[in-house]
Amino acid sequence: MRACFKSPSSSPLTVWLKRAGVSAVLAAMPLFLNAQSVTTVPVGAMTYTFPATTQVTTTYISIPLTNPAVYTLPVASLTANTITFSGTPFPAGGLAQTGSPFFARIATGAQAGRTILITANTSSTITVDSTDHSSQTTALNTSGWTVAAGDRIEVIVGDTLASIFGDGSVNNPLKFVGGTSIFTADAVGIYNKITAKFDAYYFNTTNNYWRVNTSASNLNNIVIYPENSIQISQKSGRSGLALVVIGEVPVSAPLTKITGSAATIYSGTRFPVDVKFSQLLFNNWTKANSVFTADTLGVYNPTTAKLDVFYQRLDNGQWRKSGDNVTDYTNYVLPAGSAVAIARRSAVSGSSSFVSAPVPYSL
């Protein structure tokens, strides 16, 4: 993966438009333009390179860049899953329309870095999915780890299957190859924390939309969460291609929801730069001298089509790979946009149900 970034010299909105293909959103919510906050964080592009295939080839990616904020507001009050702001900044219902997802990113305070899907809104209040699309709920007002009045919330435009991978139209062409069956088309998998598996989608060239194998419903609007790991299976004989994603660089450590009790969650490093294991200083990370008692990080190995499982030893802090008792992987490099599988051994609640690593760069 290749990434280049720059501070927005002219119009970050232009970048946002390119990324999200949000003409429909603008049509639905013209007030947003007036409310546009000019961001000062770097924006840039990540290029995911997919070489030509000579066999069925599976690749895992994550997308650490996000769309710029369209609102930045301080919290006035909150409940377990709602946040209320002063005034009437939003068009009622405008942040929760099918096909145009919006996320609330908590920018300051105890839960800074958490990015939550907005499921409903009034003119002053947003309701969020406090499960973080998992089987567990973490309340905004969790005791000892609560969002507080005055914390800054950024509302960002989310992505969908079609906005990232195309819808077959002239303005938004398909990035991968469609087909009449998932067994002949390229497939895109979006990790589902509730079912703990990748949901497999393909672009059906008869229906002319994204769907699953077992149902003919139009699924162009499936939401891609910022912390999603994405699995892509290209069939044999595909030409090489480059997937370019444009967006903002994380300026603070993103939080990734995990469910604990050794359950594996597929996500990403969350950073648009190469990261060494030594830089992944996860909070509450359990080191141990055995892979069976340590928290683990899985990285897909395209040579074996399996996960390599890494853990951090307690005695010397080195990163080791399960099954390899010799090599120190502390300086092992995860390329920008890598996907990882994270498993925390212990049961989790509150802040321990999220992992984050310090931002490995300064802005």
């Binding site: 069925v56 998998g189 990748f198 074996t304 089509a305």
Partner: protein, 260 residues
């Protein structure tokens, strides 16, 4: 007495039904080639890890699509009722693990266009083409009837000198263009030798090897020609110094004698 007899008969029939683990692909899915479609199977359920799978009816879609993730079955047989070749394909990152034999009685070459994992030592009877990654693990796979490994990687694991994956057999197997990787938890012991095939790996490339403990190195000189790998101790620097010293002294003695 007669009632008891019928009861016994019914009981034995029930037991035989319970023990039924062979599930036949009957292609009853109306053209849907999905492995997950229960209508494609004689038992109306998706095969599991204890199921002997038989492909009994030619897949009308020209393929069988595995869409059940990391799929594990007990064994796989292509019956002689098949009328042609077809391939196993995947939906999204799916794999197929066979914990027993693969037996192709069809007479037609059949292909695996997805990663295949050997779950146990077994015989793989071709003609079969493996067009994706094959993970042998630490199992012994006896190849016969013709096997073509045409995917990117063929992977063997080593646990120790007596437990490691390898090929046996007398049939024709080709590995042209394949990278052969050796993995596993093995850390090395001087003098250990591993024979990965009764034939050779001509046309393949040797990829990664397990990292050995300090002072040990792999000897790979015979790997492609005969499938052999061995572990040797790397001489310590002091051993090199002693060797050099001996050579210097020898040279000095030789010169002195020559002058004399």
């Amino acid at each position: 007495m007669r009632i008891l007899f019928y009861f016994s008969l019914m009981l034995s029939f029930a037991i035989s039904l319970t023990a039924q683990t062979t599930n036949l692909w009957t292609d009853g899915g109306g053209g849907d080639p999905s492995w997950s479609n229960t209508a494609n199977w004689s038992l109306n359920n998706v095969p599991g890890s204890s199921t002997d799978v038989q492909i009994a009816v030619q897949p009308s879609a020209g393929l069988i699509g595995i869409d059940t993730g990391a799929t594990i079955i007990k064994s796989l047989t292509f019956n002689n009722t098949l009328t042609g070749s077809f391939s196993f394909e995947l939906a999204l990152g799916d794999t197929l693990q066979i914990n027993g034999a693969i037996t192709n009685n069809s007479g037609f070459n059949q292909s695996f266009n997805l990663p295949v994992n050997a779950g146990a030592s077994a015989t793989w009877l071709g003609p079969l083409t493996y067009s994706n990654i094959v993970n042998v693990g630490t199992n012994t796979i006896t190849l016969s009837g013709g096997s073509a490994f045409a995917g990117s990687d063929l992977n063997f694991d080593i646990t120790n000198v007596s437990t490691y994956g390898h090929f046996l057999g007398s049939g024709t197997a080709t590995v042209t263009g394949v990278t052969i990787n050796i993995g596993g938890s093995y850390a090395g012991s001087s003098g250990d030798t591993f024979d990965f095939t009764t034939g050779n790996f001509s046309g393949a490339t040797l990829g990664s090897l397990p990292t050995l403990s300090g002072g040990l190195a792999w000897n790979t000189s015979s790997f492609l020609s005969s499938g052999l790998l061995s572990v040797a101790a790397i001489p310590e620097p002091s051993a090199y110094a002693a060797l050099f010293g001996t050579a210097v002294i020898g040279f000095g003695v030789w010169r002195r004698r020559r002058k004399a």
